[in-house]
Amino acid sequence: MARTERFRFSHTRQIDSAYRYVSAAVDAGVIMRSAESGSGRFVSLDGDRLLNFGSCSYMALEARPELRDAAHRAIDDYGTQFHFSRAYVQCPLYLELEALLEQMTGRPVVVAASTSLGHMAALPVLIRDGDFVIIDQFAHASLHSAVKLIPGVSLEILRHNRMDQLDALLTRLRDHKGHVWYLADGLYSMLGDCAPWADLKDLLDRHDKLRLYIDDAHATSCFGKHGRGLALEHFGGDERVVVALSLNKAFSAAGGVIAVSSREMADRIRRCGGPMLFSGPIQPPMLGAAVGSARLHTSSEFPRLQAELHDRIAQCVALVGQRDLQLAGIQHTPIFQTQCDSPRVVFNVAKLMQERGFLCCICVFPAVPMNRPGIRFTISRHNHHGDIIAFVDALEECLALGRHQAILQPEAESYATVGAE
């Protein structure tokens, strides 16, 4: 697993090749687009009013009065900006938000301006000299970026969800003097699959040096008591597990949360985690929205809202199970990915779906491996049951048509010019 010799693409080359791949998708008109209106059940693009199957607002809370009214009140009380560094003076809404989030998670928390900044603040504080870090290859890019900030850290990248390899590494590191951190996502944003919770529990039981740091951004709100996510639902009482949640996405506000096991650990991150000292705060309107959302999460109404989402997910799972959609894997999550034969097919399908009145997302390299191009779609409370039936019908048809179109598409003709010279 560990290699002594490594081939490294230079930083500039990685940027340049990423630019080339992303530009191909931009040029195909399937990413980095600007909506004309709407972000709920419908979204308007290119003059088309599309049913929205690309949203991360799985719980569809963004237009609820609890959040809107709280945001309005925050503007009335504090304006659009609370103009201090949080290292000096913070908006009082932070205290209210942290108290609600501690009720929601059952843990001491640190609130950051985003989940990515939360990783950047927490990981260099949590991971100490002599610790070893193992990270899932498909863990969110923000985790990969944050761990690179730790000078001299011993790092190993694990094949996705390969618990047998993690077990072997932990066994090899049994006599390692420090902790062994495993960094992973709770719910993977592209494939829609989850961390293998039962296997991780088994590894925690057998390897006392193991520590987990789980980015549960996409599971926040959708899963668990008060929407605390999948990781805290499985390991809420285990002090060896640190969990990052998102206040964006299904939470429908802004910011990130690091749920830790002790007040002392929370204080260390708050007092010496880089972005906690030098990065800007969440501004009052979104702090207000976050407070409103957190109140809703801890209310008696929230389980009913979660049940409505899971009812739609179950409907979609049942429908896609009856069709030939080449899904990457079916788990009970709001994220689905159908695998396509090539980026050409992906772009064709996305455009065909738009023609039929649906918005779904593409996933191609570098968001996914080169050999796993696909269509990513999400289920939210915005989607009506009839919308989901129509979407799955259209997707099956467009996948077949998109494949057929790709076969008929002409090849690049540039060679003819070169060959004639």
Binding site: R3, E5, R6, F7, R8, F9, S10, R13, D16, S17, R20, Q137, F138, I157, R159, H160, Q339, C340, D341, S342, P343, R344, V345, F365, P366, P369, M370, N371, R372, P373, R403, A406, I407, E411, A412, E413, S414, Y415, A416, G419, A420
Partner: protein, 174 residues
């Protein structure tokens, strides 16, 4: 790693086939088939490095041209590059096959321009990319070995246009 009966049988035969001083179409086909088989691999696997090494001269160079840079590699560098791509998840499986070829022989040197296509799986209906692997083979220690492999990963390529320019030495892939 494709270690099924077809490849195993094939690679056992390969040494005897390539040991002949007079390469015929069958010998070249066997070498090219083995080349594409060893660089292809299923999920959770990797290229068949040992068999790949047996196809290459110990002096072989591998050159990959991309829009950003050109990689000048020995076989060990190429292995490290693929392992890096696997580790970071840039690829999780790889399937490449030959779709056309033109060859020229000059004594103990063969040049093969081998058109390839990559697919997400052997059964995929569309390809991800097409291009040309430029290979040079030499006689070494009584066998034909690849001494140079070079390709441009981003060159525009039309199979039909390329085939229309084939004359004489061109031959279709198997």
């Amino acid at each position: 790693m494709q270690t099924g009966p077809t490849l195993a049988t094939h690679t056992q035969d390969l040494e005897a086939i390539l040991g002949s001083a007079q390469p015929d179409q069958h010998q070249l086909d066997a070498l090219m088939r083995a080349f594409y088989e060893v660089i292809s691999f299923e999920e959770e696997s990797a290229p068949d490095w040992d068999t790949m090494a047996s196809l290459f001269s110990k002096h072989a160079r591998i050159t990959r041209v991309t829009p950003e840079a050109t990689d000048h590699m020995e076989l060990s560098d190429f292995k490290n590059m693929v392992e890096e791509l696997l580790e970071v998840g840039a690829v999780t499986s790889f399937f490449e096959r030959e779709i056309a070829r033109r060859t020229d022989r000059f004594g103990n040197v063969i040049h093969a321009a081998s058109a390839y296509e990559t697919r997400v799986s052997p059964t995929a209906v569309d390809f991800i990319e097409r291009g040309v692997n430029s290979l040079q083979l030499i006689r070494e220690d009584g066998s034909w070995k690849i001494v140079s492999l070079c390709w441009d990963s981003d060159a525009p390529f039309s199979l039909s246009a390329w085939q229309s320019t084939m004359q004489g030495g061109g031959n279709g892939a198997n």
